[in-house]
Point group: C2
Chain length 445, copies 2
């Protein structure tokens, strides 16, 4: 089996993405569409060789389309299909292709329905959004007004999509992808589908992960391994082109097992968009455990991440943010003398907070943070120093932690460490956590 | 005075940005450098007309440089200056310009110092990072290894910068900007500096703001007005090119006053990166008021935003997230019969929570949210419905709110509405809030 997964007229098809909009060139808007479309084209077996951003200008648009037609097999154009005079992508395509624009009946009906639904009058400028190139294949817009379309010029396939990311993405997923795959197949490019696995690791940096997998990464052809830094954790993506899911699983699963074994104690789950908070909620819910959290310096970071997970309400009972020190005594009932003796940023306080919030809520698990987020040191402790407290049934302990960065990076990093400590603390007994024992030195029981 | 602020050989200089790196074309990395550089070039008076992203490929890089030289006055190239064989930007520039690469003595010294400091051996591949084009002006890298440089080819000015955003930004700010301005001045483009004001508005959408300012925006030359949707609020940026700050203030301040007057009741402050949470903390601190917050569905969104503001600890006393309904009685002391009668998502509950969290903390101000974030309806109420409770001294009231979107958009939007309601509720008496009275119909006292 070929490691490239594509065979066609001349190797793999070459592609490029043209994003239209003056707001990109002023730096007002980030060109996220180019990155998103690049991943989708790669999945379809197209090598993306250029991204271009160009303004809403007839002459420069035509020049950009001509250049692209001369060097690419597939060109995806996105943006400039709005209703106003500024939006001239359609007109530029018509001039470039030498074909007129025509109103598409179904697209016009879509525009009419939209205005009927909202009770607003249909304006002549909106009718433009139902225009497509003569003899193009129309791509319906299920979540907006502007129709997309696809056509060929001299052997190059153009796919034209709206600029708002949601409209662009829905149109691509529902209509443009299959249109593209059919075109590629018709040209003799039979592309095997791309299959992925996404593995997530915490408590370790991106470069340390890459280093531990260096020999696997070095000579990869298929499957490929890519390491990404996600907010708060590291994502490893494995990819293979195979005829079907069964063969993909045969190629990917032994590699997954090898990678997880090498990074034992850092793995927290699988799935494209998995977050540490989701993994925590999933693990607690799986064991029927409820949680209460007391956050001091992280101030809402942990609870916000947990409550963002749909279904969190079955797990998270209570959050308390005793942000000013006297509140730790008044609301959580911490001993004022103990607080004065040990300080609000101490292992003692972290443990007392975890114990107290668990008791107050009658949850099975209590988690607490206390740290110096800055900008100023506190109680003689430097910025970035802190403690994580855990209370699981009758066992209460804490971990000393440190984080670098500005105030909000410190808050985020200590929140991430707390979530991962919690994830490890509630490992099911059937799944002993290989590295827990390494941490004993930091724990106080 | 010219409305364009630039005068030179032929109008304003044309610019483009070329970002080099295969990771951009695979969609792994967002091209944030292009957006950042576009803003800096605009400030220098350069019209950016194209962004291109191209991979680490000698042939395609040369073609891209030739195209750019043929159509632009200023070309900024970023990326591909790393130490490995993949990084060929320098070699492609040498081939394109027909000039050899030479080692720069100061850049080499910078590389040597870096390796001496870290105690690692200097490898031959790192010496490449001290190479620049013969007879170019070297741009030092104070925070990394790769030197940048600037040179001319046939009337076009090329500025070459490293790809890592921090290195690129520091090099631009410290060396490339002045180098560019000197080049522009030498060519007869005398650019007046650009001055901005940033005004922030909440409780109103981007298009409504644009609509109310439509006549001001339509015929603008200088100052210019731009409307941006920021997370949770709307930003209006005013810009002018003037010789100095005093003349800029004369041009901008009457316009600011006019805009704030038109959007009365929505304005919450000035400054490039101001957030609603900062404005709230600033207003409370200015009046010596402290705050306690009880969040239900927004679950940490409000507290996280507030505590992200440096100095929040002088204002925020306590947060309570009684996420499961029984916690509202157990921790905040809400009346269980009242809860059963009115429901956890009710004006009654929002007011009782605000009152209770204020009392529990002895803060001057209490804020509370309760809503249905979804995915499921709750107590027969639809997703997106909710209430904001406010307790300021002895006055307690609530607002009914609604938000669209998925779970986390709803949480975010209700958090934003709550922060803005709080901002208005604590307006200093010297600054009567013109629209507060409009809202009376929604309030229950």
């Amino acid at each position: 089996m070929s490691g490239h997964g594509a065979s066609g007229p001349i190797g793999r098809p070459r592609g490029e993405i043209i994003a239209v909009g003056t707001e990109l060139l002023t730096g007002q808007t980030l060109n996220t569409n180019a990155a998103w479309l690049s991943r989708r084209l790669a999945e379809a077996g197209v090598d993306v060789l250029f991204h271009t951003a160009v303004g809403d200008n007839l002459e420069r648009l035509q020049a950009t389309f001509s250049l692209a037609a001369g060097r690419s097999d597939v060109v995806v154009v996105t943006g400039g299909l709005g209703p106003t005079e500024d939006d001239v992508t359609r007109e530029a395509l018509a001039l470039f292709a030498g074909r007129p624009l025509v109103k598409d009946r179904a697209a016009l009906e879509n525009v009419r329905r939209f205005f009927a639904r909202t009770g607003r009058p249909l304006l002549p400028i909106n009718v433009r959004q139902a225009e497509v190139l003569l003899e193009s294949r129309v791509l319906p817009n299920d979540v907006g007004l502007a129709a997309g379309f696809a056509f060929d010029v001299g052997g190059t396939h153009f796919i034209v999509l709206p600029g708002p990311p949601r409209e662009m993405q829905v149109m691509f997923e529902r209509y443009a992808r299959s249109e593209l795959l059919a075109w590629l197949a018709g040209r003799g490019w039979t592309i095997q589908p791309l299959f992925h696995r996404f593995l997530h690791f915490a408590g370790i940096g991106e470069s340390a992960v890459a280093d531990r997998l260096a020999d696997l990464i070095r000579h990869q052809t298929d499957p490929t391994i890519a390491v990404y830094a996600e907010p708060g954790h590291v994502l490893v993506r494995l990819s293979t082109r195979r005829p079907d899911e069964r063969q993909a699983a045969e190629a990917l699963e032994p590699l997954m097992d090898a990678i997880v074994a090498r990074l034992k104690g850092h793995y927290f789950g699988e799935g494209e968009a998995l977050t540490l908070a989701e993994a925590v909620i999933g693990r607690l819910k799986g064991q029927g455990l409820t949680l209460a959290v007391a956050e001091s310096c992280t101030g809402g970071r942990i609870l916000d991440a947990l409550i963002a997970v749909p279904g969190a309400s079955a797990v998270v009972r209570l959050g308390v943010l005793p942000y000013q020190t006297p509140m730790k005594a008044a609301v959580l009932g911490l001993d004022a003398d103990g607080l004065a003796e040990h300080g609000a940023v101490s292992a003692w306080a972290a443990e007392a907070m975890a114990r107290a919030v668990r008791r107050l809520s009658a949850a099975e698990v209590g988690l607490a943070t206390t740290c110096v987020a800055g900008p100023e040191p506190q109680e003689g402790r430097p910025v970035g120093e802190g403690y994580i407290g855990l209370a699981v049934a009758d066992r209460v302990w804490s971990l000393a932690v440190r984080a670098d960065g500005d105030r909000n990076l410190i808050r985020q990093r200590i929140a991430d460490q707390a979530l991962f400590a919690l994830f490890r603390a509630v490992a099911p007994s059937s799944e002993p956590d290989g590295e827990n024992s390494d941490r004993k030195g930091e724990e106080r029981e």
